[in-house]
């Protein structure tokens, strides 16, 4: 197969697409484009959801590394010493303790069971963007007592009747209002609502934050223990590095990175996603393959006689085969380009109009690698689909072709 042969094959292919049926070309390109979009849309959406959940979990739940009680223990004990130890390590931005306690909130006629989280507000700023999510009032101060901040879902909306509520709330608490909190151990007190926040991460929006000092009052003793410690890494340090470091420096508690936790808690979901992705991938590949196979088969059948003539006048069968091969390649490239454009357009649209649910908001998460990988897969499928009939017709006997 020399250069001249390829040139002639390409010329034949190009002219056939340019001067043949316009609508067939447009339709084929459209179908390939849609298949490409189909291949990449669901996985990207799932990826977007996954990314969104991961970000929320890092931001509001575990930061980069989570230090939790060793098995058998309920709390991380010897808290001050442990915090000092971790905060002194290279690469650690800040370590903060979390301590939660079940409680019942009362506001006017409403009663609501929540889990109240005690934090150290100043340190928490380094770990979580919660402080920047205030929609009314202000964030907790380090030494505040008798004050709490509550999630938007807890505060509720006074204009919505109780029976119409999507999830139970206190029915319209405003900043400055006073709510009564009765803790599981019987401790009860009135707290002033200092601020209301909205993060978009449902578990947090359904909770109440209080200061460490207030929680010590509830427990009636200095609190040198925590449910867990969240550790934020400095930029440039990996979670793995921090984890290894913590374990080496003798943190005897259980140390897990976000990735460790996610692979456990989201493993199931990810598996389901992976299956759906596989199915949509296969469907797209099959549709593309079948469509191109049919398009090229029809083309070859319609021009059997002409193919016979071309072979008769001395056009080599390889040229005939590559003629159809090039047609498929051109159609596939156009289709993939269209698919990429559709996908990018969708992605831009969705970044302005994300899919929002109480738990997460998702946009399409597409990397250049995804685009490349899917393009290559689709391209290979297209070539296989096109070259099979092209090969067959190019081998056909001249007599059979010419006398047809």
């Amino acid at each position: 197969m020399g250069q001249k042969e390829l040139k002639v094959a390409f010329l034949l292919a190009l002219r056939s697409l340019q001067r043949g049926s316009r609508s067939s070309v447009i339709l084929t390109v459209l179908i390939i484009g849609m298949c490409f979009t189909n291949m990449i849309f669901l996985p990207s959406l799932f990826n977007g959801i996954g990314q969104s959940i991961t970000t929320q979990i890092v931001d509001y739940e575990v930061a980069n590394v989570l230090v939790s009680p060793k098995s058998g223990d309920r709390y991380v004990t010897d808290l001050d010493a442990t915090l000092d130890l971790i905060n002194g390590m290279p690469g650690v931005e800040r370590a903060t303790p979390h301590y939660s306690k079940g409680a019942t909130l009362k506001y006017r006629q409403r009663v609501l069971g929540v889990s109240v989280r005690a934090i150290t507000p100043g340190d928490e700023k380094y770990v979580s963007p919660l402080y920047s999510k205030m929609i009314a009032g202000s964030y907790l101060g380090e030494a505040d007592t008798g004050e709490v901040i509550i999630g938007k879902s807890v505060a509720g909306d006074a204009t919505v009747r109780e029976e119409d509520e999507f999830e139970p709330s206190l029915g319209g608490v405003r900043v400055g209002d006073s709510i009564s909190i009765e803790y599981g151990n019987g401790f009860t007190r009135e707290y002033r609502v200092k601020g209301i926040y909205f993060t978009g991460w449902s578990p947090v929006d359904n909770t109440v934050y209080t200061t460490w000092a207030d929680m010590e009052e509830v427990e009636g003793k200095p609190l040198d223990q925590a449910d867990y410690i969240t550790v934020k890494a400095k930029p440039g340090y990996t979670e793995k590095f921090i984890k290894d470091e913590l374990q080496q420096y003798g943190v005897s508690e259980k140390v897990q990175t976000t990735a460790d936790l996610l692979s456990k808690s989201m493993g199931q979901a990810l598996q389901t996603f992976a299956i759906i992705n596989m199915v949509s991938l296969f469907v797209s590949i099959i549709i593309t393959t079948v469509v191109l196979f049919i398009v090229i088969t029809i083309k070859t059948l319609n021009s059997r006689k002409q193919i016979g003539i071309l072979k008769a006048i001395g056009v080599d069968k390889e040229v005939i085969m590559h003629n159809y091969g090039f047609q498929v390649i051109i159609l596939a490239i156009l289709g993939i380009i269209l698919g990429i454009l559709i996908t990018l357009a969708l992605s831009v649209y969705m970044s302005y109009n994300p899919v929002v649910t109480p738990a997460w908001s998702a946009t399409l998460y597409i990397t250049p690698l995804d685009l490349l990988l899917n393009s290559v897969i689709l391209f290979i499928a297209a070539i296989v689909a096109g070259y099979v009939p092209a090969y067959q017709v190019s081998r056909e006997d001249i007599q059979t072709a010419m006398r047809s």
Binding site: L12, I309, V315
Partner: protein
Amino acid sequence: MIEIAGLRRIYRMGDVEVKALDGITLDIAKGEFLGIMGASGSGKTTLLHMLGLLDEPTSGHIIVEGTDITRLTDYEKTMFRLYKFGYVFQDYALVPDLTVMENVSLPAMLRKDRTEEQIQKDSDTVLEKIGLFERRDHLPRELSGGQQQRVSIARAIVNKPDILFADEPCANLDSENSRVVLELFREINEEMQQTIVMVSHEDWHKDYFHRIVRLRDGTVISDGYNGKEGKAG
């Protein structure tokens, strides 16, 4: 230049055998304008396809300038057709999506011994010759049947083949256009000493042939120079 010896072609359809060619022996000389005539089904097309390497004989030999072409491999046959033969078919058989110019240049483009400029020059020359240079950028469907057949002749001769084969090139044309096409063949034959083997069953075409071979049931029944046809055997 062509020696045909004991050429047979038998089609087998189930139990029935059709002897399309039943022992043809024939020599064709360089520069000859040979007409193959005979009734429908007499084996004209079959013979032409054998000579033109488009079909394989059941037995017998065809020797073109010392080469037994029945023994060539598939690829060698393709190259032989590309470099040595030119073909004109009954139904023009142009590539519908290529312009007149592209159709004519196509066989030349595949040859290793042609440069871009030469192809351009040769194509221009043959298009001038057939009188369709002005229409070179038109598609075949924009031309009349006669014009299309002239384009297909141009495509056949652009490579200056050793032998030009034509299977009833005028079958789809009225007598006016047939005459134009036959004149063109005569011109090519006389000016370029082009060897031509043409199949026809129109009796009046024989005025154009130097030599006429008549077939019946796959055998030669007469072979002779124009005007003085002799009996074969």
